[in-house]
């Protein structure tokens, strides 16, 4: 497939599923240590952002580019497009 540059596309929200199906980052249970006068924070302390368990699992499995190749998924007969994708990353097998 030729990947189009879609820089002008209006960004859309992360959509349903993105936030609701994965756990939210929990605030740190630790209490900040008082450091006395002179160091009050203006914006409060922000915990280091954490990723969900699902993301963590994916990160664990992540491998470099040479080890994973993006390719099309064959979906059997009936779904050929009028024009073949210009950048098939693997020949489409449609032949059931």
């Amino acid at each position: 497939m030729t990947v189009r540059r879609t820089g002008s596309r209006t960004p859309v929200s992360t959509g349903c599923g993105a936030s609701s199906t994965r756990g939210t980052s929990k605030p740190s249970p630790r209490k900040p240590v008082s450091t006395g006068c002179g160091t009050p924070s203006t914006g409060g302390w922000t915990p280091k952002p954490k990723v969900s368990t699902r993301s963590k699992e994916l990160l664990e499995k992540a491998k470099g580019k040479d080890k994973t190749e993006k390719r099309t998924v064959s979906t059997g007969c009936g779904t050929s497009k009028p024009s073949t994708p210009s950048k098939p990353s693997k020949p489409t097998r449609t032949g059931c």
């Binding site: 990947v3 992360t14 959509g15 993301s55 994973t68 099309t72 050929s80 990353s89 489409t92």
Partner: protein, 445 residues
Amino acid sequence: MTISPPGLRHTLRLEADRALLYDRVAHQYFPLSAGEAFLCTAAAEVGLDEATRMLAEKIGEEDAAEFRAQLEDEGAIDQNGFTGRLLEQRDIKGAYAAPLVCHLGVTLACNFACNHCYSSSGQRAKDELTLDDIKRLVDQLVDIGCMKLVLGGGEPFLRKELPDIVAYADSRGVDCFVHTNASLVRAEVLERLAKTPPASLAVSLDGPDAHTNDRVRGPRAFDKTMKGLEVLRAHWPHGFNLSVTITPENADLTPRLVALAKEQGAKVLLLRPAYPAGEAMKDTSLICDRETFARAIDLARPEAERLGVTLDAPHPHEQGVPDFDGFGCVAARVVLGVDPRGNVTPCLNLPGGFDSGNIKEKKLSDLWKKGRGFVLLRAQEPGPQCGTCKHYETCRGGCRVRSLYAENGLGGPDSWCHYEPREDVVPLKTPKHSPKRTKRTGAST
């Protein structure tokens, strides 16, 4: 191409061991690597820059940057995270968590009477799915992340609501692929359809001339389809494909079919074999064996190259064995079929014994997971030949329809089999893979 409404271009399906990205521009699912899927999910949680940094720590900066660039280029991620729809799904053993493609017969009505029609169409059935039923089906497809809907029949253009079906699916982010005999396409209906053009329009034709074509498709079918193609060229700027069912009668004529595709302005010429299903069971001389199909493609290729016609024809020798991501036959693993009455089956070519329930009464996702025919196909054990074959892991016995027709049972082998014994077994002396021309006993259900 405008994807409307915005935000429906991508659907990311996360299963336990894989991530699939459906892209409506390519009309394809793409398996994503774990690293890419991580960027999609984590960008929404910690921001894209932080997600990229985390990934770089694991796989190196260069690869992480490449993954990010690719996804950004596709419009799948931006600073706010994944731009599409994300679904987390539980795995099913031996199948995708949900189908990738749904084949829907929109009506049993047909103005042709093809001798190989898998659905034995002709008269409209009284209890066909209503437009609302089909909309509910589309809604369910969206819910489970099945983004490809193939519309066949019967003749879909005999259903006046065809443009409404396509428009509704489009509005929900589902791409439609319409299969028609083109004899009924008119400027007015094309104008309605063009508001949300389907991903493809495939026109069925079974011969390069009236004599060959009409023997299979009925009197004057060739002329009617040619007229339809004329209308398409004048009123349908989105292009069309020609789709040919290969039988022993037209197999040697594929060079002329290629020339016809060129002359008619088809974008792709699809060649598919006639399956032992539906009407073809009444005239089994139409059923295509492996060598006939191979010959049809071998003959078509040089002409296609000479004329610059794109062929979509999976060569049975080169393909070796069906290879659908290790699933073999796609029925119950990648695709499902819904007949015009709403009966759900793993494959519309399979006999009725595999019907698993009706979408008027049951949820599609339940039928996919637990429907009788689906469970039966997934649970199949290899027969003696497939069990000793080194292709079993990817082939799993091949086409169930052909295997049943050859009376080899659900455990295979497909009559198109390419048996090669595994190194650790004593090879079978006489691989049983020739189709028998005996009466089929049907599904062992």
